[in-house]
């Protein structure tokens, strides 16, 4: 199993790295937007401002990276019948999903690292902020697969490639627009984190901001949401259709 996953991941990595366009949406666009804002009038480069602004960029990078490079990629593979062909070669469709996920975790992390260097230079960050950046970056090794599991529910729907772009744009827009929403109710906040991966990511990052009181209940809530999605996602991936919604093999 591990050998198969290694062989497939290596194959996927070679393919993915041959297409440099992937860095456009996930790295270039947010970095340019960040720099544009950073050097326009009235922008404040304080530590407080860093904690308010930068997690939003990370959330965008994780969400867009996962949706474009993992979830949409699997749907596209299904629609052009690669998924069916690949699954017969690998013997298990979960292997195809994980072989796609693993290289993408490292690619998204590399993109965030480059973005972090730019952000650190602009904000001239102090050691406490660097520690925060390091912590969140390491946490991303868990957050990225969990967000991927969130979005894997889409794989159950017979979504066509043509409608996938519009659907995913809407998903990212809503996910980001509602990412910072928080209420006084723990139950409502749990629902928000459970239905919106953007909200889940922001809550996870906020837990790591130095000086912010750490509510164990929120940590437990995020862990429970993560475990539920991990379990549900594996069931979804095992049962997703190999058949294209639009064309026969």
């Amino acid at each position: 199993m591990i050998k198969k996953l290694y062989a497939l991941s290596k194959f996927e990595t070679n393919i993915v790295l041959s297409d440099k366009a992937i860095f456009l949406f996930t790295l270039l666009f947010p970095t340019v937007y960040f720099l544009f804002n950073a050097f326009t009038a009235n922008s404040v480069h304080s530590v407080r401002n860093f904690y308010d602004v930068i997690p939003g960029f990370w959330t965008y990078m994780v969400l867009v990276g996962v949706i474009n490079q993992i979830t949409s990629a699997i749907v596209t593979m299904r629609e052009n019948n690669f998924l069916k062909m690949f699954t017969f070669i690998a013997g298990d469709k979960r292997l195809i999903y994980y072989a796609n996920l693993i290289p993408q975790i490292f690619i998204i992390q590399a993109e965030i690292l480059i973005f972090d260097v730019v952000a650190a230079l602009v904000y001239r960050v102090d050691p406490a902020v660097i520690e925060f950046m390091a912590l969140t970056w390491l946490a991303n090794f868990l957050i990225i697969p969990i967000v991927s599991f969130f979005t894997s529910l889409i794989l159950l729907a017979p979504v066509k490639v043509q409608t996938m772009g519009a659907l995913m744009t809407g998903y990212v827009f809503l996910g980001l627009a509602l990412a910072y929403i928080s209420t006084g109710s723990f139950a409502l906040n749990t629902v928000l984190a459970a239905i919106n991966p953007g909200n889940f990511i922001i809550r996870a990052y906020i837990l790591m901001i130095p000086g912010v009181p750490h509510h164990v209940s929120y940590l437990v809530m995020l862990a429970v949401v993560a475990v539920v999605y991990t379990i549900v996602s594996n069931v979804v991936i095992s049962h997703m259709s190999l058949n294209s919604s639009t064309s026969r093999a």
Partner: protein, 226 residues
């Protein structure tokens, strides 16, 4: 392997299979014949479990992990080279041996570093057939393996499929070509209007249709029910 009393209706209401019964010979290459749209590919999808396979109708077929399936459209990663693709498959098959360009089959060494998307349709099919043949499975399904191949390459592809059967593997393929399936090593199954209308060797098919040409026999059979 046999299919018994299998019926299936398509979402558009068309009856694709109507109490279909089919017997597949383990020691022969089973060739599903029939007109376009008869349901040959869909039947392979049921056998392969891509479509849910009812256990009460499909008897003696191995499970998913023991099936290799060459799809009709030969889909594969356009960005991967032929060599990268073979190397990945060999690694998955856990052969524990170093795979080099020299290990590629004849005719593919010169396109070893060509991306899959840049190959011709026939070359893509050859690559896929070769890959599928290298997988170690109980049952092999080939959907129109000779489609788009020149006569020499088609002969080679059928030779590979025949070789698998000679090694004791079970094989089912669909085909619209007859020049390579003339010996008694083939078991023909003619699918039309939801049923298997004929099962037997090419010689029996010729006898059944009172002709000495398989294309004529096919047309006659097609005319009987179509």
């Amino acid at each position: 392997m046999e299919i018994t009393h299998f019926s299936c209706q398509l979402p558009d209401g068309r009856q694709l299979y109507d109490d279909l019964n089919a017997n597949f010979a383990d020691d022969k290459v089973n060739v599903l014949l029939g007109p376009n749209g008869a349901g040959k590919t869909t039947l392979l999808d049921f056998i392969s479990t891509v479509n849910p396979r009812p256990a009460e109708n499909f008897v003696g077929f191995p499970d998913f992990k023991q099936i290799a399936y060459q799809l009709q459209g030969v889909p594969f990663m356009a960005e991967a080279t032929v060599f990268q693709t073979f190397k990945m498959v060999m690694a998955i098959e856990n052969t524990n041996q170093q795979f080099s360009i020299a290990d590629l089959p004849d005719g593919l060494t010169k396109v070893a570093n060509t991306k899959f998307g840049k190959l011709s349709g026939g070359q893509k099919r050859l690559v896929i057939i070769d890959i599928i043949s290298r997988l170690n499975r109980e049952l092999y399904l080939f959907d129109e393996p000779e489609s788009g191949l020149d006569p020499k390459m088609a002969n080679r592809a059928i030779g590979k499929i025949h070789e698998l059967n000679q090694q004791g593997k079970k094989v089912i393929m669909t085909s619209h070509q007859f020049q390579n399936i003339t010996s008694d090593d083939y078991n023909l199954l003619f699918l039309e209007n939801g049923k298997i209308r004929f099962t037997g060797t090419p010689a029996e098919f010729l006898e059944d249709q009172r002709t000495d040409n398989l294309v004529d026999a096919y047309i006659k059979q097609d005319g009987m029910t179509g």
